[in-house]
């Protein structure tokens, strides 16, 4: 298990507006109610791959440690399994909080330790905007590390395996519902920027 240590919390690394910013977009997650019991972190099946535990992330939001929170691997590694929320005695919606933190990190272009993650979310949204439904091969192709021949080869063998089983639809979904999906995306983006 990786554990990072913050040696010193100085006003220099604290951003007092961060708590307010998170509160504004994630109030419904009840993250203010966290009492640091650690049940979430003990239960998390992906904790081994995170640099900070979910409990530490919440504490750091409260302390205003914006950069550490938003550049942590934790917010991207969370697999949204809902175990923490199921067990939290204060009903803190940690998975939704992680999603909101990702949203801030994407908007503010914070460098991400897991290079493919922001791209995953961006490409996913673009595909839905285009077809209304997912087109799996298109998403996968955009997420192949083209600089790594090993990754290209590895994905090619997976693709062959799936093609043989009839599990890859080469053509994208029919697009007869595009107009209203596109309008939904555009109207919502305008509303979100308000």
């Amino acid at each position: 298990m990786k554990t990072e240590t913050i040696h010193e919390i100085t006003p220099k690394i604290q951003d007092s507006s961060f708590f307010t910013e998170v509160r504004k977009i994630a109030e419904r997650t009840n993250f203010m109610d966290c009492m640091q019991c650690g049940v979430c972190s003990g239960s998390c099946p992906a904790r081994f791959a995170m640099d900070f535990s979910p409990m530490q992330i919440i504490k750091m939001i409260q302390l205003g440690l914006k950069n550490i929170v938003l550049s942590s691997s934790t917010i991207w590694i969370c697999a949204q399994c809902q175990t923490c929320l199921t067990r939290c005695p204060r009903e803190v919606n940690i998975p939704l909080l992680m999603s909101s933190l990702k949203n801030i990190a994407i908007r503010e272009n914070i460098p991400c330790k897991i290079e493919l993650k922001p791209k995953f979310h961006k490409t996913f949204s673009e595909i839905i905007k285009k077809y209304g439904r997912m087109h799996e091969p298109e998403l996968k192709i955009k997420l192949i590390k083209k600089t790594s021949p090993q990754d290209v080869f590895h994905n090619a063998t997976l693709a062959l395996r799936l093609l043989r089983k009839g599990k890859i639809k080469l053509l994208p979904p029919k697009t007869d519902q595009i107009p209203d999906i596109l309008v939904l995306f555009e109207t919502a983006s305008k509303e979100e920027q308000k």
């Binding site: 977009i25 419904r28 099946p45 992906a46 081994f48 791959a49 991207w76 590694i77 697999a79 949204q80 399994c81 809902q82 175990t83 929320l85 199921t86 067990r87 998975p95 939704l96 992680m98 999603s99 990702k102 949203n103 994407i106 897991i114 493919l116 993650k117 995953f120 979310h121 961006k122 996913f124 949204s125 839905i128 209304g132 439904r133 997912m134 799996e136 998403l139 996968k140 997420l143 590895h154 997976l158 395996r161 799936l162 089983k165 009839g166 599990k167 890859i168 639809k169 979904p173 519902q177 209203d180 999906i181 309008v183 939904l184 995306f185 109207t187 919502a188 983006s189 509303e191 979100e192």
Partner: protein, 291 residues
């Protein structure tokens, strides 16, 4: 009983056997599935949310509204669709300001959502509406001696208060189903498969999925059954990669629960899409094929 059927994107692409087997057993069980016309992606938990939160709720609500027009509850097959649609449904119920905003997004498409429908998983309907005694009435080939590991997946029963059909910590519906089919459900340690990490952090996903596969294998399972196309993909299609990465042998077929029901109902492998599972279930089939 009639439902507004929401297959979800995976059933239309990487999980055709789930849709096939579901339709095949539904006609036997008297569950009428009427596909929601022009449904769209549910927005997949936070795949869209992380970019555009309001858009993602709008996408989910569009499906809710289309189903509401048909005056039927939604039936879904995928755990991620289940959580995304029911969570949006709950948010819209609880937050009238959000509902107003989202309805504004839908107006352009001539839609509106009042909040009158429920989102149900197929297993929920099987458990609570059809009932397992009715399921067992249709069993032609009891799965005697078959040890099955039920893989509930994370999102079928969690979090509490959202999907609400089985115990979030100790679900039992699949165990009861396995028994109703004449098989034996086994206890093992089930953990999250890593879901979409398969696309972005493969090593983390393989470590997560490996735990459940090995646990089921060591508990003596003959196969696993899944109720979500994302879980099934990681457990089945990625199983050979996991084997070679860790240099271990697992060789555990992963069926959809609907396929297992179909086998016990005596349906043909073709009707159940059993040729589409990556880890071949041929050995199991030999044991239980009607012919």
């Amino acid at each position: 009983m009639k439902f507004a059927y929401y297959p979800g994107c995976a059933v239309h692409s990487s999980a055709p056997e789930y849709g096939l087997s579901c339709k095949a057993i539904s006609s036997i069980l008297g569950i009428e599935l009427i596909e929601i016309p022009k449904w769209n992606c549910c927005s997949s938990i936070d795949a869209v949310y992380a970019n555009q939160p309001l858009t993602s709720i709008g996408l989910a609500a569009r499906n809710l509204s289309l189903a509401e027009n048909t005056k039927m509850d939604i039936i879904v097959l995928c755990g991620a669709c289940l959580l995304t649609l029911s969570r949006a449904n709950k948010m819209l119920h609880e937050d009238s300001e959000l509902k107003e905003k989202v309805n504004m997004l839908l107006t352009n498409a001539g839609l509106n959502y009042n909040g009158s429908i429920k989102v149900r998983h197929y297993l929920d309907v099987l458990t609570n509406d059809v009932g397992f005694s009715k399921v067992s009435e249709h069993v032609k080939v009891p799965l005697k001696g078959l040890k099955v590991a039920p893989y509930y997946g994370c999102l079928l029963t969690r979090p509490p208060g959202v999907t609400n059909f089985d115990d979030p910590e100790h679900p039992k519906s699949m165990d009861k189903l396995i028994e109703a089919l004449g098989g034996q459900s086994i206890k093992y340690e089930e953990k999250c498969c890593g879901a979409s990490l398969v696309l972005t952090d493969e090593l983390v996903m393989m470590e997560m999925t490996k735990r459940s596969l090995l646990s089921a294998k060591n508990a003596g399972a003959d196969c696993i059954i899944a109720a979500c196309p994302l879980c099934q993909f990681n457990l089945d299609a990625k199983q050979s990669d996991i084997q070679s990465h860790y240099d271990i042998k697992i060789d555990l077929p992963v069926l959809y629960f609907t396929q297992l029901i179909g086998i016990a109902f005596g349906l043909s492998p073709k009707e159940l899409g059993l040729d589409k599972n990556c880890v071949s279930p041929k050995r199991l089939l030999k044991q239980f094929q009607n012919a």
